[in-house]
């Protein structure tokens, strides 16, 4: 059920990434100020945007879980957050590399954009111990949903607060009056954003399919009275 449509989605992701990388390295012009280093922009910014959107989507799925009391929505919420955390790690690492090349420092502590993104990451890093600390599956799912909604609401608020604050060194490309980017760069960036979104969706679907297969296997073992293995409150949530 969860694997339905995974193949066309994977193919679309690969095709879009091929197009995006071609545009990044052969079409988008070299930026006058930063030179070739600016090519990290097409990786770092989509990673960060899709990660933040993924957290909000995880919060929306959590709302649906609490409203409909269907564990499938909890699974969607969990997997969305899980993949977004991985993307956040990617965003932090690529951002640090870009910062080192551009500013000469891996990290700048008095820059609101960087610190707020780190806070979001640390907030969601607590999701796992919070979730696994609860053994009862239904309570675990409910509490995790409340967390996902609260944290999901914090993400756009945090983003708006950072945009309103004064930036020290981090660029605000889309905030300038003319839109900031020339058309060739904008097209390349939008392609990169779509590619990253497709990659996120593919990984979410892939993870859900794997979890579903794991859940089906457990059901089969129980049906056959076969040993199920050690208690599995850590492998959460179970999807059928």
């Amino acid at each position: 059920m969860y694997g339905k449509g995974l193949r066309p989605l994977s193919i679309a992701t690969v095709v879009m990434w091929a197009i995006t990388l071609s545009l990044v390295f052969f079409y988008a012009p070299i930026e006058a100020d930063q030179g070739f280093l600016q090519k990290i922009f097409y990786l770092h910014v989509p990673l960060a945007i899709i990660a933040l959107c993924g957290y909000v989507i995880g919060g929306i799925f959590a709302v649906l879980h609490l409203r409909r009391d269907d564990p499938r929505w909890d699974a969607y919420s969990y997997v969305s957050i899980h993949i977004s955390v991985i993307f956040t790690v990617g965003g932090l690492l690529t951002g640090a590399i870009w910062a080192k090349g551009s500013w000469g420092h891996w990290w700048v502590w008095n820059e609101p954009t960087l610190v707020s993104f780190l806070i979001v990451f640390l907030l969601y890093a607590t999701y796992y111990p919070f979730r696994y600390a609860i053994e009862d599956r239904q309570r675990q799912a409910r509490y995790a949903s409340v967390f996902a909604i609260t944290a999901g609401a914090f993400v756009p608020l945090n983003f708006l607060a950072v945009r309103a604050s004064a930036s020290l060194v981090h660029p605000r490309v889309f905030a300038t009056a003319e839109g900031g980017l020339p058309t060739s760069m904008l097209v390349t960036f939008l392609c990169a954003l779509v590619s990253m979104g497709l990659l996120w969706a593919t990984l979410v679907k892939f993870e859900l399919s794997a979890k579903s297969a794991q859940g089906q296997l457990k059901r089969l073992r129980r049906a056959l009275d076969a040993p199920v293995g050690p208690p599995s409150s850590r492998i959460a949530p179970e999807v059928h």
Binding site: G35, L37, K39, I40, I86, G101, A223, L224
Partner: protein, 97 residues
């Protein structure tokens, strides 16, 4: 790593910027590969589990007596573990689609 990249694609600018760009894209790919490797291990575990379950099912099918007659049927359901919904009410609940 950067020298390997330069050998593969000489169009990469051989300056400090090229080094960091290569680093960022390599980090992204490594992150994806780590994720794929973890998922591959999980899938291998599932595959192994499926193999075990299939072996159990086949062993039980071989060990089970020949198709019981109608008069023997109630005794067979209480003493043998038959895969599928016919085994018990609880099993029927768990295996519904």
């Amino acid at each position: 790593m950067f020298h390997l990249l330069l050998a593969a694609d000489p169009s990469v600018p051989n300056d400090i910027g090229g080094k960091y760009v290569a680093g960022a894209y390599v980090v992204f790919i490594v992150l994806l590969l780590i994720y794929v490797a973890i998922m591959a291990m999980k899938l291998a575990r599932i595959e192994k589990g499926l193999g075990e379950v299939a072996e159990i099912a086949e062993a039980r099918k071989e060990a089970a007596p020949a198709e019981p007659t109608e008069s023997e049927a109630p005794a067979a359901t209480t003493h043998t573990v038959t895969p599928g919904p016919a085994a018990s009410g609880a099993t029927a609940q768990e295996t519904r689609p």
